[in-house]
């Protein structure tokens, strides 16, 4: 064991590093064959519907360059929608439109994207430019989710979402991701979005970070980002826990958007959720993951799992959740 100062300090804080995340959790708990379930958002959507989870409505799928007319049909019918690569990663390629003009489609910031540019962008998506792996991809056209009104002074130009890390079907940590002017309406942290740690039991934000620096207020609205009660928190936990268990991946990130009218809605699943959530919560993941790793089995009932999640978050020992006769995993 290395005993260097910073090493032991990080370890003491229970920080989960990328190497450890990959080896100890992703390789061990996420069978490779299940990756397509989360990497392909069309499949994820079917799976979520099976699990009884609310999803954004799918307006259409463009598979080939020749199906470009679909975008025009959808635009005429729904006016407000999102296009995204089915196998996209990190939010790449996603474009949100909320209106149709004669010359093109209107983006959230009012800018009109001319039709040729739209088609070019979709073609780039089809050729796999924003996708994991290589080769081609398909474009999904989805309902544009309208965020809950509670976020009106917290999300700039985009849709905020909640990321829940679910381990063996048990939520272990969560954060609220808020888009900013800097992140161009995207909620991704590495693009300048704000990440706010959430108390897993109460659903109240504890602190915010932007670019790894602690922030107390949203830079665009000056509204505080801490002590904010995330709406429908218990439903969010239930959705995450239910889907995390159903999809079969042991270690998964569930991204949820809280909609004004539909309530918590699944945005996407992530088989390799990032580790920045630890900075947002000022808490290492490792001490939360290890007790669950030691559980011999996990209950099938979603409410029992959430009970475990609460106890785990409070730092209580999980011995009482081990069924008699079961030996804890070493």
């Amino acid at each position: 064991m290395l005993r260097l100062g910073p090493v032991s300090r990080l370890a003491k804080a229970g920080v989960l590093g990328i190497n450890s995340r990959n080896l100890d959790f992703i390789i061990s708990y996420n069978p490779r064959r299940l990756y397509p379930l989360v990497d392909d958002k069309v499949i994820t959507k079917k799976l979520a519907i099976e699990a009884g989870v609310t999803v954004p409505e799918l307006y259409g799928v463009i598979r080939y360059g020749g199906e470009m007319h679909i975008i025009e049909e959808v635009a005429q019918k729904h006016r407000s929608f999102v296009v995204k690569p089915s196998n996209g990663s990190g939010g790449g390629g996603i474009m949100v439109f909320n209106g149709v003009a004669k010359t093109g489609l209107r983006r959230m910031n009012g800018q009109i994207v001319p039709w040729p540019d739209v088609r070019y962008h979709l073609n780039n998506m089809l050729s796999g430019m924003f996708s994991m792996g290589d080769g081609s991809d398909q474009v999904m056209i989805e309902e544009r989710l309208v965020p809950h009104s509670a976020f009106s002074k917290l999300a700039f130009g985009g849709v905020p979402d909640v990321r829940v890390i679910v381990f063996r079907g048990i939520p272990v940590m969560a954060m609220l991701r808020l888009p900013t002017a800097e992140s161009d309406g995207k909620a991704n942290l590495h693009q300048g979005g704000i990440g706010a740690g959430i108390d897993l039991v109460t659903g109240i934000t504890t602190r915010g970070v932007q670019h790894n620096d602690s922030v107390d207020v949203h830079p665009d609205f000056e509204t505080p980002v801490r002590d904010f009660q995330v709406p429908s928190w218990s439903e969010i936990l239930e959705l995450a826990s239910r889907l995390g268990k159903h999809v079969g991946l042991g270690y998964v990130g569930v991204d949820i958007v809280i909609c004004e009218n539909k309530g918590p809605t699944l945005l996407e699943l992530n088989a390799r959720p990032g580790i920045a959530i630890q900075t947002a919560n000022l808490k290492g993941l490792r001490p939360l993951l290890l007790p669950i790793h030691k559980l011999p089995s996990v209950p099938d009932d979603v409410h029992e799992r959430i009970e475990i999640a609460h106890a785990n978050w409070r730092g209580e020992p999980l011995d009482r959740f081990i069924a008699p006769g079961d030996e804890p995993v070493r």
Partner: protein, 521 residues
């Protein structure tokens, strides 16, 4: 379980690598560093002359394989000349011929010489005859019949040397000592009365040795000492001692290092002869080869452990060897990448991009490489941005960038040539593809994550390429890799071990500093 398996594999790999390595080093004497105790050499003769428009015949004396060196890989560069080699009594010769030569011409001859340890040479050569009209038996008879002062002086010198010596070797040394003393009356008698060609001390020694019945001859050749473009022709003598010719100094008869003295012509034969030319100039250059001890080790391996030679890359043809010289370094580059990515956490484009960039730099040198790389990538980025405005599809756009990069490289090469800048620029297919891929990846990152992220990754890729470049161009590492490819098993073991590394990356210490500080409070 996985851990134990891995440790067993790693242990086995390291043990195998070290085992083969130490056997090759200690038993077969494979050199661990290049250029160690070298005894193979490349010599090159450059013959320049002017022709008068007449037929030219030029004979160049060549070293032969019968002496202390084996001559291999001979080659001639003589455009317009017919070349043939000839093995006559006078020695080996190359004969260059041309029907008419007007103006100056330059001919080249080069050969690789491998020093042969004559003690182990299995050939039994017949003892040559001593060439002298004054040999012992005739001398005795001649003195009885007609005691000329020359014969008496000769006999006296030889008898004194014989009396003062214990064996053949010390007899020669005594003879050399006596012969060099020109104040001695007997020696001056020999100088005056002897054959006219005895003009200096070494000629005299050859004459005396032959008179004593020890075959000796006069040698002109090159002392292989250091790499030089102007190796002087030197003279020394050879005498027959035991069962071989010994090269020795002409004045003291002190033996020379056999592995260094390359004889070219004997008995005052000319190095270059022929007719039809004027203003002859001959210069010899000498270069030491690196694989010297290696070839000796290979010889030894042939005897003791044929499997070593059979599995050695050095048995491959030289052009394939050259390929492997680069290929074998790629595992090391991969190790660097693994360390940079898993342990340090350096941002970079793609997985192996830094190593590929380093390979591209290998062909251009580092500084030129970095400048070219930055320049070409910048031009490429601009063009790619323009192509993006034209709304081209992904693959055709990549192809267009590739074509433009080709042109940029072409113009740089032409401009460099026109301005007389020798960049040492040898652009091959490889850098072309690498640079194109870099441009595409960089512009994507630029669009999606912003300029700072793209520049950070570009800097990371370059920063990774620099250590990789030094490893990929190190002469020592290249030598080790091609002579001891088994050591790459250790690299494999290291990579496997790092494959189970669950510790923090160096960058994570900075990223989670706030958490670490929290843990301390």
């Amino acid at each position: 379980m996985k851990q134990t398996q891995l440790l067993i594999i790693v242990g086995a790999l390291i043990a195998a690598a070290l085992g083969i390595f130490s056997y090759k080093v200690t038993r077969l004497g494979f050199p661990v560093v290049p250029n160690l105790d070298s005894d193979t050499w490349t010599i090159e003769a450059k013959i320049s002359f002017r022709g008068r428009g007449d037929p030219v015949t030029l004979r160049l004396a060549l070293p032969n394989s019968e002496g202390p060196f084996t001559v291999v890989d001979e080659s001639f560069v003589a455009s317009g000349f017919g070349v043939e080699t000839d093995n006559s009594e006078a020695g080996r010769q190359a004969i260059f011929e041309r029907r008419a030569q007007d103006g100056s011409a330059v001919l080249f001859y080069s050969a690789k010489l491998i020093s042969v340890d004559q003690r182990y040479s299995s050939q039994n050569r017949p003892t040559p005859d001593a060439v002298s009209d004054f040999r012992r038996s005739e001398r005795r008879r001649a003195i009885q019949e007609n005691a000329t002062p020359l014969l008496v002086a000769l006999d006296s010198v030889l008898t004194e040397a014989l009396e003062k010596s214990a064996g053949e070797r010390s007899f020669i040394a005594q003879l050399a000592r006596l012969s060099s003393d020109e104040g001695d009356d007997r020696i001056s008698t020999i100088i005056e009365g002897g054959p006219p060609e005895i003009s200096n001390a070494s000629d005299r020694l050859v004459f005396l040795l032959n008179a004593a019945g020890t075959p000796a001859r006069h040698v002109q050749g090159i002392i292989l000492d250091t790499d030089t473009r102007q190796a002087p022709l030197q003279t020394w003598i050879e005498y027959w001692l035991g069962d071989r010719w010994v090269s020795a100094s002409g004045t003291t008869a002190e033996p020379l290092d056999d592995a260094r003295a390359l004889p070219i012509v004997y008995d005052r034969q000319p190095i270059v002869s022929g007719d039809g030319f004027t203003r002859l100039g001959v210069s010899w250059s000498v270069a030491r080869n690196f694989e010297s001890q290696l070839s000796r080790a290979l010889e030894r391996g042939q005897e003791y452990a044929p499997w070593v030679n059979a599995t050695s890359l050095l048995s491959l043809p030289i052009d394939l060897q050259l390929v492997f010289r680069v290929l074998l370094l790629i595992p090391l580059g991969a190790l660097i990448i693994v360390i940079l990515k898993q342990v340090i956490g350096m941002p970079a484009f793609g997985t192996f991009m830094p190593v590929l960039i380093a390979l591209a730099f290998r062909e251009t040198q580092l500084i030129t490489g970095i400048m070219l790389f930055v320049g070409i990538v910048a031009v490429g980025l601009l063009l790619r941005a323009y192509f993006n405005q034209l709304q081209l599809l992904l693959v055709p756009r990549l192809a267009a960038v590739l074509i433009i990069v080709t042109f940029v490289m072409m113009f740089i090469a032409l401009a460099g040539e026109a301005m007389g800048i020798q960049t040492g620029l040898s652009i091959s297919l490889f850098p072309l593809v690498i640079i194109t891929m870099t441009i595409e990846r960089m512009s994507l990152t630029w669009e999606e994550d912003g300029a700072s992220e793209a520049l950070k990754k570009a800097a990371g890729s370059l920063a990774g390429a620099i250590p990789a470049y030094y490893i990929l161009t190190s002469e020592y590492i290249e030598h080790i890799a091609i002579v001891f490819p088994e050591l790459l098993l250790i690299v494999l073991a290291g990579v496997l071990l790092l494959g189970r590394y669950t510790g923090y990356k160096v960058t994570e210490y900075f990223r989670f500093k706030v958490l670490a500080n929290e843990g301390r409070n």
